[in-house]
């Protein structure tokens, strides 16, 4: 069938980029996958690059049906059951998919957005630790099957770490030699500690990935500092000051590119460079990519998987000058 909408066209391009057909199941692993809202709009390039690169690695992410917004942030109020409903509903969708597909699919729900990862994990952990609350919420959600507690929420980076980053290197056809990349973690992948995917004070998971892709890792003291998150709505210039600190410290260490796993961090670090330039005329722009875009570049994938058109600061000129991207 001929793709009609923009999104379908993009997806079909993504599939064309993959070096292996999706139906080659023998050495492949299938996971239920929760995209979250922003990966279907401003962060479509995060999803496209993730689906294309994971397909090459033999990881098939199957989008759960009828998913809803996770709520972005967890309620921090004691005894607040209501705000666990939205994340739990998504976990139940995964539970249904796992039950339907049996051994064919992993019982772990993969997420990409770090805020979705955080809210889903917090809810899952809360319900596993508090059976009374789980029972009450199950009763309340009378139209849904009860949650049995058998789903685990994992971030794609954890899946890559589990497979070993050598498995990533195996798929690299365009090693990112000579490219200095700083990992930015922000908050939601790391904190609070009980749901973080790495050491909250000394994370290395993204640096391991950068190294696996042939690039040079740049350490920066601001990699775990918050970008201001949703404060960007009420005070964009306060956020721009944080962006300025985060980016210029990375640049001082030699970074040419920043990577992230969060669409909100990406907005604050990439789009808000406009506000940074208003306040700091000396500021030099720096591209901010999703970690999966960096993978897509190193895997030698084309425009459909890279999705650079959605990045506010175009990484094209830098990457072409370094010989890592073919001239357009």
């Amino acid at each position: 069938m001929k793709p009609t909408t923009q999104a379908e066209k993009r997806r079909s391009t993504v599939r064309d980029d993959s070096s292996q057909p999706v139906h080659a199941r023998s050495s492949r692993t299938m996971f239920p996958y929760y995209p979250g809202c922003t990966l279907k709009t401003t962060a479509q390039n995060f999803e496209d690059s993730a689906l294309a690169t994971t397909a090459i690695m033999g990881i098939d992410l199957v989008e759960i049906p009828r998913w809803n917004c996770c709520g972005v942030v967890s309620s921090l109020v004691e005894n607040d059951r209501m705000h666990h409903v939205a994340p739990l509903r998504n976990i139940i969708r995964a539970q249904e998919m796992i039950a339907e597909r049996g051994d064919e699919i992993e019982s772990r729900l993969v997420t990409l957005c770090s805020m979705c990862t955080n809210t889903l994990r917090r809810t899952d952990l809360f319900l596993k630790q508090n059976p009374e609350d789980l029972e009450a919420i199950n009763d309340y959600m009378s139209l849904e099957d009860d949650y049995e507690g058998g789903v685990e929420i994992v971030h794609l980076l954890e899946i890559l770490r589990e497979r070993g980053f050598d498995a990533v290197t195996d798929k690299v056809s365009n090693p990112l030699e000579g490219l200095n990349v700083a990992a930015y973690y922000g908050c939601m992948l790391l904190r609070p500690k009980d749901i973080g995917i790495d050491d909250p004070e000394d994370p290395t998971i993204q640096e391991d990935l950068i190294g696996a892709l042939g690039a040079t890792t740049v350490d920066t003291p601001y990699k775990k500092m918050c970008c201001g998150s949703y404060q960007t709505v009420q005070d964009r210039y306060a956020v721009a000051e944080l962006t300025y600190d985060i980016l210029t410290h990375a640049q001082r260490e030699g970074a040419e590119v920043i990577i992230t796993a969060c669409p909100l961090c990406a907005f604050n670090l990439d789009d808000r460079q406009k506000e940074v330039r208003e306040r700091h005329p000396d500021f030099r722009s720096i591209p901010v990519l999703y970690f999966t875009q960096l993978m897509a570049l190193a895997f030698g994938l084309g425009e459909g998987a890279l999705g650079f058109e959605l990045n506010s600061v175009d990484p094209g000129p830098l990457l072409m000058a370094k010989g890592l991207l073919a001239p357009r």
Binding site: G36, C37, T38, T41, T42, A43, C69, G71, V72, V73, S75, L76, V77, E78, N79, C113, M115, G186, C187, L190, R191, P192, K193, P200, E201, K224, M225, C226, G228, S229, Y230, Q231, T232, V233, Q234, D235, R236, A238, E241, L242, P263, L264, F267, D271
Partner: protein
């Protein structure tokens, strides 16, 4: 000379209410200031995070009219570093809840100029609505 500080009955009730909503042992704070040193928004705040918790400990309800509690981005930097194991992000949330439960919104999403509103991704708008509206 011994200096005595008194917490009023109303102040005690206020502290008890914030402890109830947040679930945190607020009186355990010994004012080391680690939270203020870790907070990315501290430079924008009118009082520091450690002052926020101190005022709450002392039952000073004027903490509710500070900017600081609205500037918390719930980044949990203070949470992971507090040597007393207190989650200050929950205390800030409880303070905001006192205001939001009066059905008073802190921000007016509809009042954001259209070009900026269109530019903001859902993840920012939903997050802000969850934290700043009732």
């Amino acid at each position: 000379m011994t200096k005595t500080m008194m917490i009023t009955k109303e102040g005690e009730a206020f502290l008890a209410r914030i402890q109830e909503i947040s679930g945190e042992a607020i009186t355990a704070c010994d004012q080391c200031g680690t939270c203020s040193g870790s907070c990315p928004m501290a430079s924008e705040m009118d009082i520091t995070p450690s002052e926020m918790i101190r005022k709450t400990q002392m039952g000073q309800q004027d903490v509710l009219s500070t900017k600081a509690m609205w500037l918390c981005a719930a980044c949990f930097a203070c949470t992971v570093r507090c040597p007393r194991g207190i989650d200050l992000s929950k205390i800030a949330e409880a303070l905001r809840q006192i205001s939001l439960r009066q059905a008073v919104d802190h921000i007016d999403i509809a009042g954001i100029p259209a070009p900026e509103r269109v530019r903001l991704p859902q993840i920012a708008l939903v997050g802000a609505m969850r934290k700043f509206t009732s």
